[in-house]
Each structure stands twice: as C-alpha cells, then as structure tokens.
Amino acid sequence: MLGEGLLKGLGETARNFAGSFVSKERLTTVQYPEEREPLPEASRAFPFLVYDGADWEAGLRCVACQICEKECPPKCIYIEKSKDKKPDYVGKPQIYPAKFDIDISVCMSCQICVEVCPFEAIKMDNQFELATDDRFGGLLYDRKELARSNEYYHKIHPTEAAEVDARLAEEKAKAEEKAKAVAAAAAAKAAPAMAAKPAEGAQPQ
C-alpha cells in the first residue's frame, strides 16, 4: 500500500539511530582535536630530508644530485649545490645541498621524489597540520625546516625505515670491504718496495 516504502526507510534510519547508542560501528565520529585516529604507516603528506647522527647539517644524506628536482611533476623543489664537500655515512666526500627549498604550496605529495631518490635521502612525512596565514614565508620550507632525524623516520615509518637501514648498513659494509681490499692491494704493492728500501738505510719511523 502507499507509504510502505517510506515506513521501511524510516525503520532503517530508526535501527541506525538505536544502533548508534550500542555499536561503535554506527557511531563513527572522531572528535578530532581531542581524539585522534592513528594514521596508517604508509600515510604521506610532505617530503622531508633524513639526516643521521646528531648534527642535522653534517648528517644530511642528500648529495644534491638533483634527480628529484628534475623528476618532480609540479617542479616545486629547488636545489643549490655546495662548493665544498663533506664526508657522507660511508666516509666518501660528497657534495651536499647548500640550499634545498620545497614550496609546499605547490607540492602534490605524490612521493615520486622518494621513488626516484637513489640515496634514500628524502622520505614522506605524515605531519599534515600546517595551516598558516603567512603566504610567502610560511609555505616555503628551507633545508633546516625539512631536516628530520633518522630516529623520527623510524618513529613514523617503522618497517620502511628498518629496510632502508638494513640496505644502508649492507652498502656501508660492502664499501668498507672494498676500501680494505684496496688498502690491502696497496699494501701488497708497497711491500716489495719497502723490502728494497731497508737495504739502503734505516727504516724511517
């Protein structure tokens, strides 16, 4: 009869209304400032630069190779290479970025820079509360504001950070072996020369 569909609909909303007192499934509101839902691990907002050790400037992994600057779709990264070099985590002297700006008012948080970075230097943060009324200064992050420690990276992306560290440690180990091998070869080459030298005079200590 007429109106039967309406009653079924009202029954449905009544069941949802009654259910909302009982089952959490029907009461989905998250009271944002007081009650925050934990973000999933892979959640991404804006990029940040990872640094090892305590001093952010010395520990920056970025070597200013500018691949992320070229690959960024909206072109919102600006890098200026440094004149001098600083040793990186393996000890090899590398260039570091004198300036590394990201304009987060243009960034589309697409994580392509993370994907193309060969040095694991840039990762995605999940910090999203960045509303500001300062248009020009507040939305252009420079090197200092972008740098975060490796511990912070472990805190927000635990599994991913663990993999990255494992890979880096393994690279470090390989690099050291290579260095040792090179040193051993050099020592082997230098040994006969050393044998010849003592015949002429005292060993310079």
Binding site: K75, D101, D103, V106, L140
Partner: protein, 222 residues
C-alpha cells in the same frame, strides 16, 4: 573483424574516388589507421557506420593533433662541374661535393576518430583526416551528423587546435571563454606571462621568471 587493408578496399569500392592510405603504427599495439582525404571523408564515415558487416555505430574518441612544419636536413652527394687549374690549363672537372639539403615538409592539423561497434562488439577502426596546412586551409568535414558523439569533441578540437569543422550544428568554443583568441594546444602556443612569484624556479621556469622580472622592471622604469 576485418583487417585495415580489407576495410580500405571495402571503402574504395563503396565510395568511388576516395583516396585512402594506411598509416602504419610503430608501437606493439599495431593499431594501424586509415588516412581519408577530406573530400570523401563524410561518405566514407557514413559507409563505415551503415555497412552491415562493419556496423561501426559507436564513435568513441575524437582527437586533434598538431604536426609542426618538419625541417629535415639530409646529406646528399652532388656532382657539379668545377673550374680547376690542372697543370696550367683551366679545364672543367666535375667533383662530388657533400651538401646538407634542408627540406621543409609543411605541418598540418589532424583529426583522429576511434570507431567501435556496439552491435558486433569489435575493435577500433582509426580514421584520420588532415588539413591543408596550419594557417588558412584548416577546414575538415564535421562527422556530427553521422555520430552525435562527435558534437562536443569536435567543438573541443576547434577550441584547442583551430580546425574548423564544416557542417557542425553549433561550432563554438567549449572549454576556453568566448573572447579567447589563440588555440592553446598547438605546439607553438606560448602561455601568458604570470611568473611573478616562482620561489622554486629552475630550468625553463627560471628563464620565464627572469624574463618576467626583466619585463616588469623595464616597465616600472618607463
């Protein structure tokens, strides 16, 4: 479904005088297309839709493509008589000289139609039509009377590329505002200069930003 060659012969038999050409497609998808001359395009399209065996009743996609004037330079051996001093006597000796010859193939605008058949559920037949050149001869016959799907898409190709579709019921700009003058999707279009604030400018954006800065400072100087 018939192959492109069979369709070509079928059209030639049905539409007398239609010059057809198969444009090969280099990618592994091997979707070769049929280039129809503008004069017989309407009749060929009507045949493709009404033919009992093909029944291409669904026009899926109309695309405009802008091919610029191509400058091809190739090295060519030319033998030309050259006056030469041979042991005191001037004689004409032909000599092969390598020259770079610049040939300019005029660009054109192209409309590509992807046709499918909903009745027989078979795959894309690609129809191409090319205009005379990129400046004045830019008319192509509109296929809207045959497939109503072409109405908005042809208006978009007109709006962004400048191909004038004759016979279109309502050819106006569809995406840009009516007062807009250029055809923005052409390869040689330069977009307006609003590069005032480019904090992360590098490569060509940096060039545009510096050009803008120079323009505004000279403007302020006057």
């Amino acid at each position: 479904m018939k192959t492109v060659e069979e369709i070509k012969t079928a059209i030639e038999t049905a539409v007398s005088g239609a010059q057809l050409e198969i444009v090969p497609n280099g990618s592994p998808s091997a979707e070769h297309s049929l280039l129809v001359d503008a004069a017989h395009a309407f009749a060929a399209a009507k045949f493709l839709r009404d033919d009992a065996e093909l029944k291409l009743d669904f026009l899926s996609n109309v695309t405009g493509v802008d091919w610029l004037d191509k400058e091809t330079t190739e090295k060519v051996k030319v033998t030309r008589p050259v006056e030469k001093e041979v042991n005191g006597v001037k004689t004409m000796v032909d000599e092969t000289v390598e020259e770079t010859k610049k040939t300019v193939t005029p660009g054109y605008l192209e409309a590509v139609y992807h046709l499918y058949s909903m009745a027989k559920k078979h795959g894309p037949v690609i129809l191409r039509m090319r205009t005379g050149n990129r400046s004045d001869k830019v008319e192509l016959p509109s296929l809207t009377p045959i497939w109503r799907a072409a109405e908005f898409q042809e208006r978009e190709v007109f709006d962004l590329f400048g191909i004038i579709f004759t016979g279109h019921p309502d050819l106006r700009r569809i995406l840009m505002w009516d007062g807009f003058k250029d055809y923005p999707m052409r390869r040689d279009y330069v977009d307006p200069d609003d590069y005032e604030y480019e904090p992360t400018a590098h490569d060509d954006v940096l060039k545009r930003a510096q050009a803008h800065l120079a323009a505004t400072t000279t403007e302020a100087a006057q």
